[in-house]
Each structure stands twice: as structure tokens, then as C-alpha cells.
Amino acid sequence: MNNPSHSTATVYVPRDSAARSVGADEVAQALQHAGGRGDFALDVVRNGSRGMLWLEPLVEVVTPQGRVGYGPVAPEDVDGLLAAGMLDGADHPLRLGIVDELPWLARQNRVTFARVGVTDPLSAEDYEAHGGLAGLRAALELAPADVVAEVTASGLRGRGGAGFPAGIKWKTVLDCADELKFVCCNADEGDSGTFADRMVMEGDPFMLIEGMTIAAHAVGASEGYLYIRSEYPDAVATMRRAIGVAREHGWLGKGILGSALDFDLHVRVGAGAYICGEETSMLESLEGKRGMVRAKPPIPAIEGLFGRPTVVNNVLTLATVPVVMAKGAQAYERLGVERSRGTQVFQLGGNIAHGGIVETAFGITLRELIEEYGGGTHSGRPVRTAQVGGPLGAYLPESMFDLPMDYEAFAAAGAMVGHGGVVVFDDSVDMAAQARFAMEFCAEESCGKCTPCRVGAVRGVEVIDRIVAGTHRDENLALLEDLCDLMTEGSLCAMGGLTPLPVRSALTHFPDDFLGGRRLLEIHPVQATEGTA
């Protein structure tokens, strides 16, 4: 180990912000410091995260057998690890084994996330060495309509929540005659419990650039925008640097990869408004306006950014396109079930022992995700519920955990897969408080354009408070039902339209919490308005 003839070891320490939030920078520094002292010959590479977030900071050492992992590593563990022979992959209580062979990872089917955590996110050489640009090269060989046909054949549906087929959207944009068209990537990722977009941007930014460039070729766009929420400063910085590198390499700009394609990309930073993840609101925001939802039609594909035909897709949707083009539509389409093709990137969060990214074909059950991958709760108490699909998604009781994860099966059960976020709660959760929070969140984040959402959500908080307090409980329960109907039927967009989903699911599956006087959690009051519901 402490051997000057030892060749320089390569050590990976993630630069992903989740890893950094639990000390990855300090671990990297401690390693670099040991290297700087000349005691050990090592190079630290900052990779993305493998998505085994409970093991972060996860340090990997390159050995002839493969990359050996140690984790979670605290800065004060570093000296001991080095002394024990970590650079040779030696034994230590924190040693996890060959990372690629860890069952959690080995059981997954990583397609979109194949490179995330493996490569240095900002190394163009690493990117190409790991299959990067193959999709773009293949696409540039084809006529735009053929690229669209390939994406359609793959069955790829939008990963941002609604699940609209990507190819059909692209075809609409391609068929518009305009000179100026845009590709916009929705990187707002405002849903609680979702972080896959962030991990792609921080861990494999070139893949997203490549996907947007393929989209540009497919529809005839010359300009692209990446709308990233301001809560993600690391993703903003990484994407900006990656765009710079891509321009230097001729992957963006004029005559991309020697073809006739001209395309350039700009990063725009949001300003803390959940509704700006809704596509028309995002376009308003990109135009420099309040993020108010636009009525559809016209659809953005025909009249989008600045009134021009625009592709709006989620990060994961666009980031999956390169592999579809590189491996072929059929290879992708073969994965999945029914009309949910390919893989979904599930994000396990909340009160879960093993939280992180599980990419696997559609059709896996919630129970497999929570129990087998997630290992139950972080607190060690029994699981009571999981909210699937973000703050507008349903709370499911344990009795529904055998539902297969697919868009239609979830919709039929009154729930939604959404962006694939699964947030787990143990038995200490107060479901009336969660229902109240759903209304409070809607009141806080409503764009204000339509009354059912703007006023209804504020009323919803008040009515739930009265139910819990036991004031005219039956009348107020009936009133809540009416209010939920009104919001569902009368809201212009899914913000007001879907808020009743978490509320009703909590009420249906956990009625006792509304009736038994369980103590409400501390909740910051929303602004009250006059009158009564």
C-alpha cells in the first residue's frame, strides 16, 4: 500500500449534490490531502452518484477486479481506509465489494442511468468512451422524419408526469412549416420525492445535450432552452460547463459533428415557482413573464415559445432518446409492459432505509420497490403509506402495494405514476395533516389564474381543519367532497385538478386520522381569506 512503486490509483468520489450534502467534498479533500502529502499515489475523480444514496459518500477504487466500493465514508475514515489498503481494494468494515455486482445495482436495468455515477460528468473523452454520441451520430444519418418514426416506434412516453408519447409530439412540431422552432427541456422537477432529473444533469449532462440535439434535428429546431429550477444550483453549474465543453467539441453550434445541423442551447434558471413545471407556465416564464398557465389549445407543439412550434419534454425523456437511437427502437420497446414501454427511473425517498434510484422496466410492483429495494423504513417502524408521483399523487395504503407500476394500472386504481417518485411514510404519519398539506401546497403554489384552484385550495385547508376539530364533521366532510369535485372538474390545469387526489386518497384509505383527533403536525398557516366555503 504505502509503496512508492505502486502505480497511481484512481479513486471516485461523487460530486452529486446529495452525496455532497452528507460530506463527499470533505472526503474528497481528505483523500487529495493524503495524496498531496506523498503518502499515497492517487487521483480523485469526481463522478456522479450511482444512486445508492444511503451509501453516500460512496468511494470507489479502480482495481483489476473492478471498482471496489467503500461507504458511507466519513472524512475521518479516510486515513484508516488508506492504511488498511483501500487503494488495492483491501478489506475494511466499510468495504462493500465490487460495486457493479452489488445486488441492488445488479438487479436493475439501467438504460437512461447507464453512465450516471460511472463517468466523470464533464469529461468529453469519458463520455465518448462510454458510448456517448452514438445516438446523435445515428440520428444524423437519418432524415428528420425517420428519427421521429424511430422515437415513436420505441414507445417512449414523456417522463415528466403525463406520459404523452414523445414521437407524436415531435411529429407535430416537424410538420409545422415555420423557420424558427425551439426545443425546451423541462428541468423544473418541482415534485417532492423526485431527483432523477437533477442526478442526470449533475451526473451525465452530455446525454441530455445529446438528446436535445437529436430532438432539434428531428423537428428542425435551431435553438434550445433548458429551464432548470433555482433550487438546483449544482445542476445549473454543471449544465453550463457541459454546454461550454460541448461547443468546444463541435457537439453544439454550427455544423454539429460535421453535419448540416446548427443548434445551440441556453440555460435558464427558474425563480422558485412550482407551477413553472407545468409546460405552458414554463414557456411564459422563459418569455420573461409571470408563470401563468396558458389555456390549451393551442398546444405548445404548434404555438409554443414566443408563439413558435416547440418541443417541450422532460429531462428523462430527452436523456433517453440517445440510447433509443443508438440501440434501436425495438431494443427499448421490448422492455416494459402493455403501453408502458422501456424503463422507468423510480426514485425512492422519504422514510426509507435504502433510498435512491431504481431504474427498471415498467411493471415492477410498489412492494418490490419499497420492501426489496428500499428495505423498509429508515426509522425501522412499519410502513404505513407511500405517496407516488409527487405532491399531486395519491397516498396508497399497504394493501395496494402489489399494484404493478404502469401508467394505466395506476390510473385505473385512482393513482398516478407521474415522474416515478415514491415517498414512504412510517406509522407515525398523520394523514389528515398530509391532506391538509396538499391543499396548503396548492394554495401556496397556485398560479392564480382560475378560481377553483386559487380559492378552492384555501377553502380546502379551512374545511379540513374543521373536520379534524370535529366542527360539524358530516357537513364539512360533504363540503370537502364537493370542493374536491369542483377542483377536479373546474381547474384549468392539473395543479388544481389533481390536488384532490392526495386529499381524497388520504380520506378514503385513512379515515380514522380525520375523525380521531390525532394531533396535527406543526404547520405554517396559509394566508386566510374572507368568508366561508
Binding site: 431527483f195 420573461g288 405532491p391
Partner: protein, 159 residues
């Protein structure tokens, strides 16, 4: 427009920022971010200058500044600590952090009397598997219990 000293300063900052973003489509948001980065907030005096420079009505600019949570009308403390209150962090005890901050004399939305720190809520920082999550001046912290929040609040107060 009045010509008090502070007006001149705000005005010159705004004009310089706008010049930097000239040529960007729909540049108001990036301009507002840049103004806030330089001045710590978006002062009322900036609004007419922005309107004039960007050929918008004052009402439009005002409407944008007030719509987005990020833009402040008033300066915040030297450090802003944001506690995630979204569902995944709630499942791990985020509300205890809110209570802890309040009991330390820093309720949500308030700035410490000495101007050192402002505590705010935020809905999701994308660290939902390692919550409760807190962000302080752009730096993300995971697995934050009350004790760790205390040192974040204190650490930032002393720096």
C-alpha cells in the same frame, strides 16, 4: 425619476445588468436574478428602470417580481437558511426542524434581529432520500436533525 444617491446606484447596476443580457430572448428573469445577486434584493427603484430598458410596462415588471418566490423586495439576512418542508422531508421529521428554528427565535420568514440569518421554507431540494434537507447560502445539507440545524444556524451566524 428622483436622483438621490441610492437611486443612482440601483439605476446604474440595473443598466449594467441589462446591457449584459441584451440580445437574450425574454431576458427579464435572468436580469432579475443578476440584479438580486448584486444588490441582495430587487428594490422598488429598479422597477421603472427595468421597464424602460426592456420596453415593458412597470406593471409587467412588478407582476413578475412579485410572482416568483425567489425575488425579494427587502434585503434578507447575511445568510439564508431554507428548510425543506415537502413530503419526503416531512416523512423524516422536517416539522421538528421548523419548530426548532422557531424556538430558537427564528420563525419561518423572519430575519434575526442582528441581520445575520433569515430562515425560510422551501419545497424540495432534490435530496429526498437523505432528508430532512436544509440549504444554507446555496449549500445543501442532508440528514439534518435539530442539533445539526443548530450548528448550521450558528455556523452561519458566526461567519
Amino acid at each position: 425619476m428622483t436622483t438621490s444617491r441610492s437611486d443612482v446606484t440601483v439605476e446604474s447596476v440595473v443598466r449594467r445588468v441589462v446591457a449584459r443580457h441584451r440580445g437574450e430572448r425574454g431576458a427579464l428573469l435572468p436580469v432579475l436574478h443578476a440584479v438580486q445577486a448584486e444588490l441582495g434584493h430587487v428594490p422598488q427603484e429598479a422597477v421603472p428602470v427595468l421597464a424602460e430598458e426592456l420596453n415593458l410596462s412597470r406593471a409587467d415588471v412588478h407582476g413578475v417580481v412579485t410572482f416568483y418566490h425567489d425575488f425579494r423586495r427587502e434585503p434578507a439576512g447575511r445568510t439564508t437558511v431554507r428548510i425543506c418542508r415537502a413530503e419526503a422531508c416531512q416523512a423524516l421529521g422536517a416539522d421538528q426542524l421548523v419548530s426548532y428554528a422557531r424556538e430558537s427565535g427564528l420563525p419561518l420568514g423572519e430575519t434575526a434581529a442582528d441581520g445575520s440569518v433569515t430562515v425560510e421554507q422551501v419545497f424540495c431540494l432534490g435530496n429526498c432520500a437523505l432528508g430532512p434537507s436544509v440549504e444554507a447560502n446555496g449549500r445543501l445539507y442532508g440528514r439534518v436533525g435539530p442539533a445539526r440545524l443548530g450548528s448550521i444556524l450558528n455556523g452561519t451566524v458566526s461567519s
